[in-house]
Symmetry: C3
Subunit: 468 residues, 3 copies
């Protein structure tokens, strides 16, 4: 069985403090403002995972990348495979057992052990010898009514959860799910217009823009129409429960073009006739437009920039995106955000949440900026950083400069449903660990520490993501 004190500090007195702090939040419901679980899992009244591999391996690039690093072919894990058979699924799970030792020290190991124990009640050690039988046990469980996705959402005590959706989605699945009194949480879509903002990178961009216009009910083939169409879709998403727009580009610059230039480049882009540099110029201008729209419609902006997406073209060609080969790039926030912050940073009603995988910007840029600008919040550790050591470093780097009120609260950002409670619990334990250190240092009273804990999982994210 997983230990009740896992991830707490080793020093006994500090551990006692951490226990008390953790007890404040252990059973509080989960707020998940950003993630990638498909809405269908929630809409379907009785959705069950086909098998343990569909649940734990194939869709979770956190898991598949480590096996890939050991020389396993992604196709053997079901990645990009149609008609992956039951036999193949079991084999994939056994591969996980075989290579389990490669996960030592990674959060995937911790999460998986935790999920086996807390969700499936399996406490025997996972590994090459037990993977097969554990597959069978979970497989049986998954057939049971208490393992439908909705039952899991209830069991996991999820209060709010956001998907990430196609900009043109009519969101009727969200509406129907929320209208269903049987669905135990509040479900929100999220607005993610990346492809429209990248005229150079997006394949057949002009066609995408035309479809956007059709859905938005306006001719989007001019810059003015395009902008209005995106504005309408933002409002549509907001009316259907969205609280945020999410953005992931190579940088966060918001340089505006002149009217003449933007119209000229837009036309060229529609004709499929722009350079990469012109694509960047348009994207930065379009992104600036999103920032302006946020002043009006009030959607929170979350940004996940500075990534080498699809670093590996071989695997991309064979298996597609999201295979674990999105590699962090150097981040640049202070220089690139300047014009945005100079214009809107002092507006407390504008919420801009900045994520990074480049830890060097924590103490040099994001902490100092968030400790000055009311609109700026520092996003929780993302992707490779959603791990015990990096989470502790995040607190270490940022709180002295910006305190706790300018943190986003935990973001699981996952498509692995069973990992959601584990990831949130991991973060709660680590928050307790960090805060217990402040209490042990006599920098904070235990009472204030408890308030920091509660706020970190409830009023904090409620405020940042405007949930009330």
């Amino acid at each position: 069985m997983v230990n009740a004190d896992r991830l707490f500090p080793a020093d006994p007195a500090t551990r006692d403090i951490a226990r008390e702090l953790y007890a404040e939040v252990k059973d509080l419901p989960i707020i998940s403002p950003h993630g990638h679980v498909p809405v269908e899992w929630f809409h379907d009244k009785d959705y069950h995972f086909a098998n343990p591999t569909e649940l734990f391996i194939t869709p979770d690039h956190y898991v598949t990348r480590i096996m890939h690093s050991q020389g396993v072919d992604l196709k053997d894990l079901g990645v990009g495979q149609k008609n992956f058979t039951e036999e193949q699924s079991k084999h994939a799970f056994e591969l996980l057992g075989k290579y389990w030792y490669a996960y030592v020290g990674t959060p995937m190991q911790y999460w998986f052990d935790d999920e086996l124990s807390t969700v499936f009640g399996i406490d025997k050690p996972f590994g090459p010898d037990t993977a097969g039988e554990i597959y069978d046990e979970i497989n049986d469980d998954l057939k049971q009514p208490e393992f439908s996705t909705r039952a899991l959402v209830k069991k996991f005590n999820i209060e709010f959860i956001s998907t990430t959706d196609d900009t043109l989605d009519d969101l009727h699945l969200h509406d129907e799910t929320n209208a269903d009194p049987d669905f135990p949480a509040r479900l929100a879509p999220a607005f993610r217009p990346d492809l429209y903002l990248e005229p150079y990178k997006t394949a057949n961009w002009a066609h995408e823009v035309e479809k956007l216009g059709e859905v938005a009910g306006i001719d989007a083939t001019t810059y003015a129409g395009f902008t209005e169409a995106l504005r309408r879709r933002r409002v549509y998403f907001k009316e259907h429960g969205a609280v945020l727009s999410d953005h992931s580009h190579a940088d966060v610059r918001t340089d505006r073009l002149s009217d003449t230039e933007v119209n000229r480049l837009f036309k060229q882009a529609m004709a499929g006739n722009i350079t990469p540099e012109e694509g960047d110029k348009l994207r930065r201008h379009f992104f600036a437009d999103q920032v302006e729209m946020a002043q009006e419609d009030g959607l929170v902006m979350t940004v996940h920039p500075h990534v080498h997406r699809d670093y590996d073209p071989q695997n991309l060609a064979q298996y597609g995106v999201n295979i674990g080969a999105d590699i962090p790039a150097k981040a640049e926030y202070a220089v690139d955000l300047k014009s945005l912050l100079n214009k809107y940073g002092n507006n407390p009603d504008f919420h801009f949440v900045a994520f990074t995988m480049d830890e060097t910007v924590y103490s040099r840029e994001l902490g100092p900026l968030a400790g000055f600008y009311p609109s700026l919040y520092v996003g929780a550790p993302w992707w490779f950083l959603d791990s015990p050591e990096p989470i502790l470093r995040y607190f270490d780097y940022i709180t002295t400069a910006a305190g706790f009120t300018k943190l986003s609260g935990f973001i699981d950002d996952t498509r692995a449903l069973c990992s959601i409670p584990t990831r949130h619990d991991t973060n709660r334990r680590l928050t307790a660990r960090f805060v217990s250190g402040l209490v042990a240092d006599h920098r904070l009273s235990l009472e204030d520490g408890k308030k920091v804990m509660r706020d970190s999982v409830q009023s904090g994210p409620r405020h940042v993501f405007k949930l009330d």
Copy 2:
């Protein structure tokens, strides 16, 4: 009451070591080689702070920036306000109480709690409910003779303190203060010629140069005269007690121009006719001149480079400089210091103290360089880094490469008088914490640890800043 063991390690055995180490330095006098307290506070035989807000909030951008990040307008804190009334001051202090929770985890919270307790004997928790009464208590105290600035300097056991001064200042206030047997410390001015070295950035630079010439008694409107004028001012400052010149530019390059080019650009600059790039070229040449002058006059050089000064133009326009919106920039030391170090780095009589807010240069550049070059010292954690976690990281990153003898010793760099003993005490406690870890690791004997402690507050800074 603040806890006697605050900031010490949690592990009981290590904490015992830290206690012993700290005891070595707890009561040693304070050496403050660089800071921003106005000389008038010391010159006036009976200067009293007008009220707690003038003491703790208005002039301290560490404090005001956090409230600003919560949406408070700087003018409500007295920033840039003439005739800030007693009522407004009390309201500002109550705002601090109201937003006190936003300071959790920041050093400002720790310092303030510490100052309330150790300076004013106030041990009730500060917060929204107590801010008003605490204001009144402090306000009463501040009227008392034992709360004149001079009485505080004595109480704080300050042995040496440096102000930062106008290059043209005749320093008679320093002279008179030092001549007064009643003043309990040694008071030094510091030479800070930044504006003269930035012909592009400085408004009305030619006029400033003319004034420089008048004070220096030489026509400074040619490059040769300008250089001689600065040389004379350096010597003047040294004769009046200065131990260092302080510099803060975008970079630390020392590229020299040819005689022809420097004379040509100087003329253009006097005519107000240079580009930003030409301004940078002149500034690097002028900075190289400062380095050469230091070889002769022996003033220590301290550099605080790589900052986006006045990042927020809105607030700058309304409230001026030093409002907490100086944001760290990426640092570059190894490349940019090469020509300087190649020329003068092997001269042990030349002391160059490099500060940074970009922690990435600690282990990559400053530690290795200070561990080779006799002239290079690594400045104490600065501005956003003057906090418990960053101070521990500073030791962690640098001492393995450069040991303890190449550290500057603590620099408070503040205009907040009451925070000076607290900041130094914080650093002494954290030094004890770090060194106790080395002793607990059996890497260092307790006796050597005690010597490291004592030297870190006495012979270390005395040597680095040539105080003897």
Copy 3:
């Protein structure tokens, strides 16, 4: 006497775990896949160090740089001196005693104390008062049979050790040493072709290329011949026991030139007529060739890039290379390795071990890349980072992203023979310290922790460096 628990965690329960973990590896033999000890020390059946200064100071730039930072002239330490007398040697050793305090907090202090105690049985504290007598004691010891280098190799339990050799070396000393049943370890040469790959930087490059051709038995003065010559030398080294090629350039780019361009530039280079930029182009092309050759001959590639070699020209001119003035440069891995990894990163038989002194790439680039690509391994902390705090940070930054199986295992990279067992022991203790934290966190079972320990010193490096 050095403490049995040195470097273990302070918390008693965690320390107990660390003790158990360390016990697993304490007595396991040493694998040293990369270092700089001269082969002559091993070939000679009865090589003895001339005196303690030759053993501990003169050839060890880790030691000399700290004294240099205190103003000591390198010549007084024997650096670059022929006919350094016994008297001068003793004086150098006394200087080490005099400046011993400057080493506090550095690994050099820890290693030296450890070596004195464990190799020479000297347990009195080293320092200004004892340096002279300790010199004499060691000097006596060094004459004894049990202090021949071979006896030390045996005492140190070194199982595998690699030197770093001239590309044209016929390696007969290695062959003879390995053939000698009296030599207690496996001795490998390493292929280091840097100078041939740097046509601009290498003095008299054309002449070096001609000599390469002579040794390789082929006209190397054309690009085709040059490439074939290097290929032959790689194979020659492999046949004589080499397991790796080692490379240290300003970057790790592998941009290929067209056939026409490479032939044209090669000719120009042979004529001594290329620009620095052309030199870089050729070097990147040549480096790409090395990568291709590795696909065929299977030599592991280790890279030590991004260094300002010989930062200090004054000392370089007087004392030559390797004097402690190789300063870390900013690293760039994700961008620069892309083409290499896209081509060969998915080949599990290709082993590429990336070292760095820029810790910012650990969590941002190397961890994520090693956690995806089978061919990529993260090299142990190098040069300034081979220290307790940086080693702990290395585990902290990388293992959550890449686990333990993608680490290189410890690399001592030294020419200081007596420091080899101490450095390996230091790393074993610190690995135990880090892993004990995972066990204490309940993230890892003690049994798995023990396996991580054993693998980190045996099967890990055996796999990475293809020793079996």
